[in-house]
Symmetry: C2
Subunit: 379 residues, 2 copies
């Protein structure tokens, strides 16, 4: 496995573009397109929030076919809680792009991120669409990575190569995070592309497993978004024997996918709204994986723990209180808590529950005055 | 029912005192004693956190007898996660006070609030105890109310009178709140006294019901404390027929107790750490009371909703996202959300789930930059 330059267009056969369509009043890039030269095998994971944004509803339907060729993404407007018009515009966007690319609208996914409850300015998308398609290029991955951001300060990209069946396979990706970040999932979008050839079911399983261990182990503010989506497109350009599960090739592919997802998850936490500290919470001695994760998240979502991290005040009593709040059979005597220095930008919190042999690692950021300021005047 | 002056010593037969014993480095009052001229019927509700502070463990044991005559409270140190010495000191404190009052140590409760994990400076309590007891007076209720505070800005007291069995019954109380406030319960202490005569089981039931509707319906930061305690002492000085359940007298008593608890709960939220807004969240159309409460708390504990309140930004999409995060069968079409102005100090958020006929009202405060500052440098 080798890291390489590039992001979502690093793999053979993918192009992208990003531009400013005017959805964001700031004039920043707000419309991205990722496209593939031929239909790719596709898998996706979506928010578990009951209130799902229109693009989530539309993309989830299309994904039943396990095939996609393009993803249109806008930032600045979530197209959520926007009624029938929201659904209509989401669907129309896919038809618009399909027409320009001369492909089936069934193969175009759509994602949105931004403010909830405001009508999607579809006219702006309509007006910018042909320019967006014409500008598709191998170099456009960086523009797309830029155009999907909201309050993110940094672009989040990664690409790597690995060997499968004797051939070099490339996987690239871009993501956005920032606020409303909590497992199941964060307000986050991640788009992964690869030229590997893989069976739809194997890709689906690989993605779900990767998400569970990475994006579902981060929490910025415990708030679950309505718009989350992680998708992976595998166009099979490398032409090796299709990866099936279980197999050694599948394990190699999963390791690479896990690496990509963990890297993006870390980047999301590090660039969380107002974050000044990266907090890694390791829970050991849990009776099962679920318990380990629940304890880690209880600590990660404790405002008091997060404020303590912000203030460089290693207050382990707050960690103990967060663990105890779940009502587990832990006691003062059995519970072990250890810290690294709270003054450094990377804080390690280790908790041993002494209830079993399972573990989990959860990642979060501190809660800063800046987070409150950002979210007190959002849009 | 008539509000009167005074607090925890308003009812006949109760005295109190508060002083500075040096536990708080600031020199502020940090030791309080509430005492009754004879053993009173007593009921208590304690934190459900698995990590319980030593005074909670000790007081809970003593309360099995449903009798108490004095409560010693210190602020500035939680005496939590302090091992066997913590338990020993909590027990010794009750013996110390019992000796000075010439009563049984079984009838002395103890409560603590403050930082977790530091040894209780028992010597300071030992040194101040006789002065504390000597200073007990009817007027000392205000000093006690002051001495139980931590980061609270305001004293929280209330007293009222009502008629039971043709006689005037007085109920008074004081409380502390501020941070780590969440149901089951808040980092809160509340001490209620009354000269009513009531059967132990009736008092216990009345208190549990009152707490469920009031203190368990507030949330400041979703953090559950290790030290919470609400207790009520009923000394029976009024001498009417003992209140039993069910009866009209019981209903009258419950109404008065509910009023006291709701008033203190509101005062706690209004004086929450860094709070600039009081938020009242009414959930209607829930399938049961539990669901109504869970939805209200999901909104109350959403940092994004709280930041929006702080920034006077009526972002209802965040309310919708918080409701949806619970995975209920709600949809964009069925869910109704209404707001009052976010610019005023009192914000009303009304949500109709359209799933049934149950309702709940939850109270919370906004999340301000000041909250983060306070909790970034606590002690």
């Amino acid at each position: 496995m080798k890291l390489i330059e590039g992001g979502v267009t690093a793999a053979t056969g993918f192009k992208a573009n990003g531009l400013s369509s005017g959805i964001k009043r700031s004039g920043k890039l707000d419309l991205a397109l990722i496209a593939c030269d031929q239909p790719a095998v596709c898998a996706g994971v979506f928010t578990k929030n009951s209130i799902k944004a229109a693009p989530v509803v539309v993309s989830q339907q299309k994904l039943h076919r396990h095939q996609a060729q393009a993803i249109l993404v806008n930032s600045g407007n979530a197209n959520c809680f926007t009624g029938n018009f929201g659904l209509l515009y989401a669907q129309k966007s896919t038809e618009l792009i399909a027409g320009l690319l001369n492909i089936s609208a069934d193969h175009v996914l759509v994602a949105s991120t931004g403010i909830i409850g405001k009508p999607l300015p579809y006219k702006k998308i309509e007006k910018a669409a042909s320019r967006l398609v014409q500008g598709l290029s191998k170099r456009g991955g960086a523009l797309a990575a830029q155009a999907i951001l909201t309050t993110d300060k940094k672009v989040k990209e990664i690409a790597l190569q690995t060997k499968i069946g004797g051939r070099t396979v490339t996987i690239g990706a871009c993501a956005k995070g920032s606020g409303m970040i909590q497992p199941n999932m964060a307000t986050m979008l991640a788009f992964i592309t690869t030229d590997a050839m893989i069976q739809p079911q194997a890709l689906d399983l690989a993605l779900h497993r990767a998400v569970e261990k990475t994006f579902n182990c981060i929490s910025v503010d415990g708030c679950m978004s309505t718009n989350d989506m992680v998708s992976v497109l595998a166009n099979g350009f490398v032409g090796h024997t299709p990866i099936a599960e279980p197999s050694k090739d599948y394990e190699i592919f999963c390791a690479a996918l896990d690496f990509i997802c963990l890297d993006l998850a870390h980047k999301i936490v590090k660039d969380a709204e107002g974050a000044t500290k990266f907090i890694e919470i390791t829970i050991e001695g849990a009776k099962d994986d679920e318990q380990a994760k629940a304890v880690g998240l209880a600590i990660a979502n404790s405002n008091l723990v997060k404020c303590a991290a912000f203030g460089s005040d290693p207050n382990w009593g707050r960690v103990a209180a967060a663990v105890g709040s779940l009502g587990l059979h832990v006691s003062e005597k059995s519970l072990k808590i250890a810290f690294s220095s709270f003054k450094k930008p990377h804080i390690d919190i280790k908790v041993d529950l002494n209830l079993g042999r399972h573990r989990a690692v959860i990642y979060t950021a501190d809660l800063s005055t800046e987070y409150v300021k950002i979210n007190g005047r959002y849009n």
